[in-house]
């Protein structure tokens, strides 16, 4: 995907956009394979350092990266 609006630096946002777009596509296809009536609404990836939240749509993708609250 192409980032439209971002608060990170250019290279990072491009990287995130590309990778997460593919992942979202994959997740969506997985969900629909199991049940074709279903669709992906929200994707959350929790890692050691951050939490990445992705809200997909037909044309756009909203990605939020959060640090754990401590």
């Amino acid at each position: 995907g192409i980032p439209i609006r971002t608060t990170l630096d250019n290279s990072t946002s491009v990287q995130y956009a590309g990778l997460l777009h593919q992942l979202t596509m994959k997740a969506r296809s997985t969900v629909r394979d199991i049940d074709p009536q279903n669709d992906l609404t929200f994707l959350r990836i929790r890692s050691k350092k951050h939490e990445i939240m992705v809200a997909p749509d037909k044309d756009y993708l909203l990605i939020v990266i959060q640090n754990p609250c401590e």
């Binding site: 192409i2 980032p3 439209i4 609006r5 491009v14 590309g18 609404t41 929200f42 959350r44 929790r46 050691k48 939490e51 939240m53 809200a55 749509d57 037909k58 044309d59 756009y60 909203l62 939020v64 959060q66 754990p68 609250c69 401590e70």
Partner: protein, 805 residues
């Protein structure tokens, strides 16, 4: 023997003479044939009869058909005797001729190496019986008895009578013939139970084929950099309706997720937290401080007390120790009477080699305190007993120190890279070589000494490096320090003054310090000292001198320990030396300003650096003052501010005054029989003051890992460990380390698993203890708890003041 016509004979010399066949005269090896007439032989036989040599062959001779007989000289004793006599004409001819023909043939076919044996047909020999005919006779079957012969015939008259023949059917008469019909005899039929049969399996093979279309992936296009929308396109997308709708729909979901995160910490590991709680409340580990190693040196540390201990900031396992004479109180007062028994040094000790010190720094006088420069661990600043400040540069030995942990034996010389033909360097090399031979650690002479005039009058009691992000000049204003190197020191002494020193640029170690040594061969400098600061010897002056005195100038303070707020360093270990922007010092008498001076206008004036200073004095007072210089409007000279506050809580000299590594405004002061914790800004008094203890406290330090823990050393050799969260009225743990007074405590984090505590005592022994893991690890929320505790105490203090006012 195989030749029946050859008869070996022995010819005596007499015979030889008679027949003219003397050996080697008439008959030789080549010419070995001699023909002798038959008549002569017969004659000889008659004359000599039995003694004639021909006697054995007499018969043969008599029967010999020919006239002449051949006698051959047998030099090789082929037939057993020295002559042999040929009995037949044929043989004689053969013997005489074939040698000739053979010789001829040999002459003809000399090139032929093959030996052609002439074909001799087999010679008929009489059969010699070897006993086989007897066997044949035994085996052959012979009739032993003659056979009996019988003849049976009819009567003669019946021969020749007429006969008539008739036919008769044989089957009519039963006994006329005997029939032998074949029948199946069961005894002879063998029932076959098993039969070996060969079977061959042939797979059914069927050939079939298909053709599929194989599409292999081929790069239609390669993208080298990511696609990006131009700004207009971005604008357009941003303002489009679709985006707005999208955001509206998605926004709720995202909010829920974020809220969830706020409520609950998803990264919280319950198991870990559970384990922590248990370990704290469970059984105590047996030893809080485990003895790791102890160091002492017979030459330098015997009968001396250790005044200061510092860990090397970067190299693991290296501690530096300074020792001073054990002085009685009277001697301490009259310092000039003290005689130097031995060259005082600062010793560098390494874990890997507890007996031999790795490095020694030469000092003209006893050192009371010293510090490593945080930005460059090769610079060490120390304060002497006579008030001078010294600087050492050990960059040449850095390699050696780093190697010290890997090889525990021997002391390597790192002067390898400086050996060349220059005289200076050969001297240096010899010096180093001598040093090596005597297995003494290399002695590093100081590279700068402050001028006696301008230094302190009394011993320098405390020395600190100022952090690397600001500098100040003579005017007392702080400026930003662009180069990230610590360049300034602050020292205090009991002559009531606090001095700020600056280190000029050339003193800082650069790579080519060794090259500079090489170049300047004119001046003889001590071999292992970078001569960059040659001109600084004895002319180093402080930048700012601050005099501590109370509002009435009669009472003065003799500071023993100082603590600046901004002493928290972020030590950068990068070695690159950036170009220094030194300040333009406005006054004239400054011999040590160097090369690149840039105008001080370019540097930002830092105003938010706190210039407050805590001072602990000889008499046990804590003074809180400000070292910022302000220009006095009356005299137009820079004068230090007179604002100061003092607190008298301790009865004796302050031994330690230290800021907590976790809280910038919490200070621990230790002196006499009690200690106190202060918070900067709270002017009522200490937020915590301990009760008087039985013994005197002589040294102390905050723990580096746990916010509420500090270590206090006593004069009976015990270490008290105070944990404010557990008990604030008595130490939570104490342990005895040595027999004599503890003089200095210095904790250190060598690695996440190893936390050390260096404790020095009055007998010159340095004990290195290891703090056990569990105790050095802070519990969850310890920081927050301690903070709460301090705040509570502050509130209580205020309340108390209000109440009892």
């Amino acid at each position: 023997i195989g030749h029946p016509e050859i008869f070996p004979l022995v010819f005596t010399t007499k015979t030889q003479e008679i027949f003219n066949c003397r050996v080697d005269e008439d008959v030789t090896e080549e010419n070995c044939f001699k023909l002798i007439k038959k008549e002569d032989i017969i004659q000889d036989l008659k004359t000599r009869a039995a003694i004639s040599d021909f006697h054995p062959v007499k018969k043969v001779v008599l029967e010999y058909p020919g006239e002449e007989l051949l006698v051959v000289f047998d030099a090789k004793f082929q037939y057993g005797q020295n002559f042999y006599f040929v009995a037949s004409e044929e043989a004689k001819e053969n013997l005489l001729k074939p040698p000739e023909t053979a010789e001829e043939k040999e002459e003809e076919n000399r090139e032929e190496t093959l030996e052609v044996h002439p074909y001799k047909p087999p010679v008929h020999k009489p059969w010699v019986s070897l006993g086989s005919e007897k066997e044949i006779e035994e085996e052959s079957v012979k009739d032993t008895v003659t056979k009996i012969k019988y003849v049976i015939s009819q009567v003669h008259r019946k021969f020749g009578a007429p006969i008539t023949f008739t036919d008769k059917n044989a089957s009519h008469v039963k006994e006329s013939y005997v029939e032998c019909t074949s029948y199946q005899d069961k005894t002879f039929s063998i029932k076959m139970l098993e039969k070996d049969v060969g079977v061959q399996m042939v797979p059914k093979v069927r050939e079939a084929s298909t053709q599929t279309k194989w599409t292999y992936p081929k790069n239609a296009a390669t993208q080298y950099f990511p696609r990006q929308l131009s700004n207009e396109e971005k604008e357009e997308s941003l303002s489009s309706e679709k985006l707005k709708e999208f955001l509206r729909s998605v926004h709720l979901r995202m909010e829920i997720a974020l809220q969830q995160n706020e409520i609950m910490n998803a990264f919280f590991d319950d198991w870990e937290a559970l384990a922590e709680d248990e370990s704290n409340s469970g059984s105590k580990p047996d030893a809080y401080l485990k003895a790791y190693q102890s160091f002492t040196d017979l030459h330098y540390l015997k009968d001396r007390t250790i005044s200061c201990v510092c860990w090397h900031p970067t190299i693991y396992g290296i501690i530096a120790v300074s020792a001073k004479e054990q002085l009685s109180f009277e001697e301490q007062v009259n310092l000039s009477d003290k005689s130097l028994m031995q060259q005082p040094v600062i010793l560098f000790l390494s874990f890997s080699d507890p007996i031999h010190p790795q490095l020694m720094l030469e000092c003209p006088e006893d050192i009371y305190c010293f510090q490593f420069c945080p930005s460059d661990p090769n610079i060490i600043a120390g304060g002497c007993i006579n008030g001078q400040v010294l600087l050492w540069d050990i960059s040449q030995h850095e390699e050696k120190l780093q190697k010290a942990k890997t090889d525990a034996d021997g002391i390597k010389v790192t002067a390898v890279n400086m050996v060349d033909a220059f005289i200076l360097n050969t001297l240096q090399y010899i010096y180093m070589y001598v040093g090596k031979n005597s297995t003494e650690p290399p002695l590093v002479r100081h590279c700068a000494v402050s001028s006696i005039q301008y230094s302190h009058i009394k011993p320098v009691t405390d020395i600190h490096w100022l952090p690397d992000y600001f500098k100040d000049n003579r005017m007392g204003a702080t400026f930003e320090n662009r180069a990230e190197i610590c360049v300034q020191l602050v020292t205090c002494s009991s002559d009531c003054s606090v001095l700020f020193w600056g280190i000029p640029a050339t003193k800082l170690p650069e790579q080519p310090s060794s090259e500079k040594v090489r170049e300047k061969e004119i001046f003889y400098t001590p071999p292992d000292v970078p001569d960059t600061s040659k001109h600084l010897d004895l002319c180093w002056k402080p930048l700012i001198k601050m005099h501590l005195c109370e509002s009435d100038p009669n009472t003065e303070y003799g500071p023993v320990r100082i603590s600046l707020r901004e002493l928290h360093y972020h030590c950068k270990t990068s070695e690159k030396v950036q170009s220094l922007n030194t300040l333009e010092v406005p006054t004239k008498d400054s011999p040590y300003t160097e090369r690149s001076t840039s105008s001080s206008k370019n540097l930002k004036l830092l105003e938010n650096i706190s210039t407050d200073i805590f001072v602990g004095t000889e008499d046990g007072e804590i003074v809180y003052s400000n070292w910022k210089m302000e220009i006095d409007s009356d005299s137009a000279k820079p004068v230090s501010q007179k604002h100061a506050e003092e607190y008298i809580t301790h009865t004796e000299t302050i031994n330690a005054l230290q800021r907590s590594p976790f809280f910038k405004d919490i200070i621990l002061s230790i002196g006499g029989r009690n200690f106190a914790i202060w918070k900067e800004g709270v002017t009522n008094g200490p937020i915590l003051q301990s009760s008087c203890s039985a013994g005197r406290y002589t040294a102390g330090h905050w723990s580096l890992t746990r916010p509420g823990v500090f270590f206090i050393g006593r004069d009976d050799g015990n270490i008290d460990i105070w944990d404010l969260l557990k008990k604030s009225h008595e130490p939570s743990h104490f342990q005895n380390i040595s027999k004599s007074m503890i003089t200095f405590i210095s904790p250190w984090i060598a690695s996440p698993k190893q936390h050390f505590l260096a404790v020095s005592d009055d007998l010159g022994v340095l004990h290195v203890l290891e703090i056990c893991q569990k105790r050095s690890h802070p519990s969850r929320n310890e920081h927050a708890n301690i903070l709460n505790y301090f705040e509570r105490e502050v509130k209580y203090l205020k309340y108390r003041e209000q109440e009892f006012q």
